[in-house]
Structure formats: C-alpha cells, structure tokens
Symmetry: C2
Subunit: 208 residues, 2 copies
Amino acid sequence: MGRTSDAKEKILDAARSLIELRGYSALGVAEICKAAGVPKGSFYYFFASKEALALAVIDEHWAAQERDWKRILGGQAPPLQRLRQLFEATEATLRSGQRSCGSVAGCLFGNLTLELSNQTEAIRARLQEIFDAHVEMIGAVIAEAVARGEARVADTRQAARSVVAQMEGQVLFAKLYNDPQRMGVLWAGCLALLGAEAPAPSEVAVGL
Amino acid sequence: MGRTSDAKEKILDAARSLIELRGYSALGVAEICKAAGVPKGSFYYFFASKEALALAVIDEHWAAQERDWKRILGGQAPPLQRLRQLFEATEATLRSGQRSCGSVAGCLFGNLTLELSNQTEAIRARLQEIFDAHVEMIGAVIAEAVARGEARVADTRQAARSVVAQMEGQVLFAKLYNDPQRMGVLWAGCLALLGAEAPAPSEVAVGL
C-alpha cells in the first residue's frame, strides 16, 4: 500500500505543478502520468476522470492554504496586522513559486475560476465554497477591527468581498507583470477599503 | 477579396466566442475553422499560428473596448460618475454575454492573463499594454476628481491600479457565481479606494 499511495501523491503533485504552469485544459492524462513517473493505468485506479483529479488538486491545495490562513488570521496580532501578514505571506508564496519555475503562477483558485468555472459545475461549486471561506475568514477579522474602532465599514461581508477581490486583482497583476512586488500596494488598498488608518509604527512592530 | 476578408472576420468571430467559452488552450485550429465555416487552408492564409490568431482576437476586442472606454470616460458627467458609468457598462456587457451563452464569460483580458501570461511572452506583452492603458485612462479620471476635491489619494497611478484590480476581482466573482450583479459593489469599493464620498443625488441624476 505504501507504493500505491505514493503513486497517488506523485500524480497529485505533478498535476498541481502542471496546472499552475499551463492551466487545466492544456493537459492530458498521459502527460500528467509521464511527469509523475507512474503508468497510465495507475491514474484511473485513483481518479475516475481528469475532472476528478482537478477536484482532488483543488482540495489538497485548499487544505494547505486553509491551515495557513487560519494560523495567520487567528494569530495574536491586532486584526488589521493579521490581514497585512496574510498579504505578505501571499506575496512570499508568489515569490517562492517564481524562484522555482521562473514566473509568477498566481492563485490556483483564481486561475481555475477564470479558466473553468463556466465549463464544469462541479469545479465551479468547489471554487465557490473556497472563495466563500476566504470571505468568511477575512470578514471575521474585519468585524474584530470594526469592534475595536480600527475600521469603519457599512457592511462587513461586502467589505470582505472587496478585500478578496482586491487580492485576486493584484495577484492577476503580479502574474501579468511577473512581479510579486505588485502585491505591495494591497495593504494601502485594504486600509482604504476598510476606512482604516495605517496603525502607528509601534503597533506595527508588535503586529509583525 | 470581399469573400476573403469575410473568411478572416468569420475566423476571428468564431475564435473570440470559443476563447470566451472555453479558453485558448482547449481549442484547436480545426475546431475554430469548423465553427467559422471556413476551410482549414484559409486559417493559415490569414494567421501564421494559433498564437497569431489569439493576438488578433485580443487586438480586435481591445479596439472595440478602447472606443467604449474613451466614450464613457471622456464624457461630460463629473469624473466619479464616469467611473460609475464604466462599471455599469461593464456589468451590462457581462449580462448580455450571459443572456446569449448562459454563463458569465468574464473579462477576455483577465481570462487570458491568468491562462496564458506565464506561457507566451508575445501575449503577455500585449496584455500588459492593455492593462497599462486601463490604468492610464482611469488614472486620468481620478486626477480630475482629485483636482475637483472629490477624491483624496496619495498616488493617482497606484489608486488607478487598485480600481482596475478591484474591477478584475469583482469580474472574477461575477464569473464564479455566474451573477453579473456581483459588479454592483464595485461603486462603493471604488469610492472607498479613492477616499471619496458618494455624490449627492442631484449630481448622480446629472451624471447618469
């Protein structure tokens, strides 16, 4: 069984790398198996279809990202600082991906949304759940900031959607210009969206 | 020659529709020619490659969009109202696309950025020019609003980038949830990003 589950992990890893590099539609099962170094028969042992594989890639990526987001957004720093830390962690992830493959791959979920959400309902539904979770988690932090008088928004959920939209838009630019530093403006944009002032330097030091 | 240029237009139209529905990578030249109702030989008479076709589709789409943006953003309404009109026109375009093909296709340039910008440098460069133009045009309107005391931003270009990022992010949501109404929050987000108040109702009436 050790070797079997190893093959499944190899397929998932190869598929995620290839999807990040070239999208989903451009890939064939044979190419994924070749990159994973497993025979094609293994593929259909683990996955009923290429779509089933894409859903497994999405789930695995989200499981890891959700852990990261919960750690950062559930931390001890003041709420707005936690949002800033999330932006910095996102920029660091883009930068590390750029170092390893030469170009910024962007956000797997944003990429697949624009590539596939109007083509397969199963993938659309899964991506909706993930973006709903993004909005929920960021909304909770905004609500904390509002309760502390550090943000002024009319509608917390709408503000959270705007922050997530701003993140996705800036990641799009980071990919387009192959420049993770594009994410640097996210913090100022987020403060504006939340009617917030930049925290005092001492608070920043505590926060980071 | 009439019939020849007709074939080129047919290929461009079919390619744009197919790219909006299914992205670029999923398409083959044979399928595009079949949808266009032209023999495959015609394709290579007009286009050196599938990439050359994609560039032509981008150019044609941008020529039409640039005309629309110039008309709206160069209009007589107060500057912030012109931004609002641009958001409303964008939502109307998404809605009309949804009516004709059943789902929101999103922004052709955003879609291709996430699908292709890290794969072909020619397409990346063309999309960069287009998004640079978006930022330039919106930046000019923001500068007008700032000069009239209707917006407060530290850096006009950075604010324009944030507004364009916000548009792309909300279009991503409109596609994900197949709901053009998602664009409705764009106006409130834009006002927040620009440190602007909602114009008085009488001004809105004049603006629209």
